[in-house]
Symmetry: C2
Subunit: 75 residues, 2 copies
C-alpha cells in the first residue's frame, strides 16, 4: 500500500472534520454526493485524488463552497 | 466525441483567460505545472476533469489561489 500523499491526507482530514461537524455518516455523505462510500472513505484516508466534479459534488453535499472544502490545502 | 461537460467547459475558459492574462502559451503553462501540453489543451476545451493535485499545480503555475482558479465554477 503506497503511503498517502501529504496534501491528500490533509484534505481527507478536513473532509472528515466537515462531515463530522454536521453529524453525517460516510454513508449519508456518499448518498448526498452520489459518490460511492468506499470513495468517501478513501478520500478521508488520503488515498484518493478527487476530480473537480467530485470536489463540487462533495462541497454541495456538505453545504460548503469549494473554497471552504479545500481550505488550507496547498502544494 | 462526447459533448463537453458545461461545468468543465466554463472552468476551461476560465483557465484559458487566466493563462492569456499572463501572456503564457499552453506550452509554458504545461512546463510550469509539470503537466502535459495535451492535458492543458484538453482542460481548456472542457474535455478534462482535473484532479485536486492537478488543480493545485495549475494554480501554483498561474500564481493564483485554488479559489481564484475555480472562481465561478459550481454545479
Amino acid at each position: 500500500m503506497p503511503s498517502p500523499d501529504p496534501v491528500l491526507s490533509k484534505f481527507g482530514i478536513h473532509v472528515r472534520n466537515l462531515r463530522e461537524t454536521q453529524d453525517l455518516t460516510q454513508e449519508q455523505l456518499a448518498e448526498r454526493a452520489k459518490l460511492d462510500i468506499t470513495y468517501i472513505s478513501g478520500i478521508e484516508r488520503g488515498l484518493r485524488n478527487p476530480s473537480l466534479l467530485s470536489l463540487l459534488r462533495l462541497a454541495k453535499a456538505l453545504g460548503v463552497s469549494l473554497k471552504q472544502l479545500t481550505e488550507g490545502v496547498e502544494l
